[in-house]
Symmetry: C3
Subunit: 332 residues, 3 copies
């Protein structure tokens, strides 16, 4: 693996085209925090499978177009070259490009939306990374969430863009009985796999396996925390009596998967205490996911990865208490 | 009083059990900013009365369980010992533990919720205290508000947790005629007392008197500002023509009570100008309370103490203009 | 022009009354970022025309009362004298004073609201300016937006204040067909002018022309960017298929106008790259305006200038990438 990557890196040093491809692949890999072009290639394969098998090729095309627009925008804005090469200006773009064709009907204005959203995702990344810098946390996928929410909300006011895949709006608390059935083992495994693939907005076991493979070539701990996060999410969502269709579709698990990777791999010295903390954060992400599912009902838009962002910021802000160098002057 | 407290402190120095009790009592006292175990004991008595007389003992049990879980979580996270001993990691937990049984139906999963919420309230306290540190303001009860909102919103998606005490969701502006009757003197006094007791989610005159006593043993000005805040809230809510039932239930006054204590006791040198500023902030908290009552209608959750947090942050951020050492390089 | 202004400045140095008038006029000018009393006078004339011609003199009276209350409050709070003289504590007040009589029915409590809102707008200005100082951006009109939103939301709970001009609440996504007709050239010009005048909550071509004149006497680039912003907004709103009535009323264009002035005049060295960036930000403001139109449906309140604030903060936070002295240590 390392020989392949080293050869590829030499190629990139000599070829602007290869470098451009490399940056975009790393951008795709950064959706799950991996600065690795092979991971990005496997993720792209995973998304292409889910998109084409699901009969919506526009989704993967949107993702590819958007990540390239984002990279070009970042170059135009003269961003820090090191961060650019690590794919840090691409991962929000690729998610915008996957999300818009997932929720909006095809048409020429959809592609104007994809290009505009991808370009502005870079501005949002620069803005939010600046905004959170004083706290030593990173922007996570909040730029993607913010820009996509704005574009989807705006679609309700634009006749040229139709939100065919958007959730139905409504009033919270008007009784909708929850269908919570006992989970069989086979549902359980499927639910966990779909929780992983829904990080890229797809419910597909093949996609999930390719994503885990993509994580594993870059970081075994990341792959393990992804699987752990999915299992925790399915168990606790079921325990809380959540709607079975949401669980088996992976729709309560994708944010916990991301939280588990983020909390599990960001701390300096893994320890039982750190694992317990990451597990607590992952469980709480299930609550945040269910909470945002409710809170967004009046707005008729999906949560995207906002539950992951909220829970991870909450659990990452106090990380000084887990770091060897952290001084103990705390909250008060 | 001081002799009793000094004796108790000596006992705590020699006994881990007494120290643990002390920390939890101070945590209860910090709900109204008092680092004093006797205040905490009186507050606990006030809540126990309101809870048991109201036929919902689960509320005070929830509060006691939660404050202890919060303290243990804080110890596990190795927080700053001085802040821990002052009860700063307990007050959000006790409020979470009082609120959940107030709004949710009894049952085993309610207690999972109480323990989870109390533990995460400490993480939220560390996170938010870190987040607001650059501005020199404190976290106030925002950790409680945030975690409880998330847990309550999530309950709409969880079949195992039932929100029997939650408000009805609806659409803002669909005409609900406001019943605003002239207040008699007796209503006026009851309204003011209920405004104080609703800080602990109870409408009870006995609870209110015990709370004021608890404040007075620690700080006479705090007790005076609490009463002043309650009176201002009732007068202005009535002047604005608010619903009489909300006024007499104390539901428009608990946030102004907290604002009055916070603004009245945080400034260095009390002066007519400071008192006028605190009064302005207290009046505006009535507006913020009514505003959040409206804004949360679509979400079918209660405001909790969010109006106090918003108004107090707004009025505390410019506090440099009231401090002798404050340099005059201001806003622009 | 400069001779007139120099003579006026000499007058102000000798007369407290003239200075007070000067500060208030500059406050009105700062609504569009101009520290210039003549601009303020022309803006006041523009608003007076729109208000009186529209049959709602209470609007301009509210604006005048509010800007004076704001200035007096700022003096009472001992704010920085330089910022005070530049009108930085007046522009939020004048907007509060214009907005409240626009959306609420006349009556004695409306004027209590105007005075309270204007006074608290200064506290909010100090608070938010403090809050955003670490990022080197300014408070923009967020104090106005925040305080007015709170006052309008609260009006639904107050029987003594009636929201006759507030939008109807509803559920997002319940089909409302969008009426998007081809724009004729005459509509196009009217739409652009109304986009400018709606910055002061009026749809009036005369008001718009007076506002552009007011900008031009202070800054030709600001006037040009205002017109450019209006044209971009109308073209792109139409391209996206927005409701024609909203476009011709200027209701999708006032935030883009403000974004265009803010982004176009804040950067050190104008260049084609800066203009392209400002144009991108202005286009995106149209999306943010449509998004907030949707997002506020459940709350039954108007967006005010929130879309401008959100889009401008997003595009101003990364401004280091456009400044000669900006170091390149960026986001990551």
């Amino acid at each position: 693996m390392n020989t392949v990557l080293a050869g590829w890196e030499r190629l990139c040093e000599g070829s602007a085209v290869a470098r451009f491809i490399d940056i975009n692949l790393r951008g795709i890999g950064q959706v799950m925090f991996q600065d690795n072009p092979l991971t990005g290639a496997l993720f792209l394969l995973a998304v292409a499978w889910g998109s084409i098998a699901g009969g919506v090729p526009a989704v993967v095309i949107g993702g590819v177009v958007a990540v390239m627009v984002a990279t070009l925008t970042a170059q135009w804005l003269h961003v820090d070259p090191k961060a650019l090469r690590a794919g840090l200006y691409g991962y929000n773009g690729v998610l915008v490009g996957l999300a818009l064709p997932t929720f909006l009907a095809p048409g020429p204005m959809l592609w104007v939306y994809v290009v505009l959203g991808a370009a502005v995702s870079v501005v949002a990344m620069l803005a939010i990374a600046n905004a959170v810098k004083p706290w030593g946390v990173s922007a996570l996928t909040f730029p993607f969430v913010l820009i996509t929410w704005l574009l989807l909300l705006a679609s309700y006011g634009f006749g040229a863009i139709e939100g065919t895949g958007l959730p139905q709006g409504g009033v919270v608390g008007v009784a909708v009985p929850i269908e919570s059935n006992p989970l069989h083992l086979i549902d359980f495994l499927g639910s966990a796999l779909h929780s992983i693939s829904q990080v890229f907005l797809k419910g597909s076991a093949v996609t999930a396996i390719l994503l885990v493979a993509g994580l594993a070539v870059s970081s075994i701990p990341a792959a393990l925390f992804a699987v752990l996060g999915a299992l925790i999410a399915v168990v606790f969502a079921h325990l809380f009596g959540a709607e079975s269709d949401l669980i088996t579709g992976g729709l309560l698990g994708f944010s916990p998967v991301l939280t588990a990777i983020a909390l599990g791999s960001v701390f300096y010295s893994p320890s039982p205490r750190v694992v317990a903390y990451a597990v607590l954060g992952t469980i709480f992400t299930v609550v945040v996911q269910a909470a945002l599912n409710t809170a967004l009902i009046p707005f008729a838009i999906p949560t995207l990865t906002a539950p992951f962002v909220i829970a991870s910021w909450l659990f990452l802000l106090p990380r000084q208490y887990f770091e060897p160098t952290g001084s103990s002057d705390g909250a008060a």
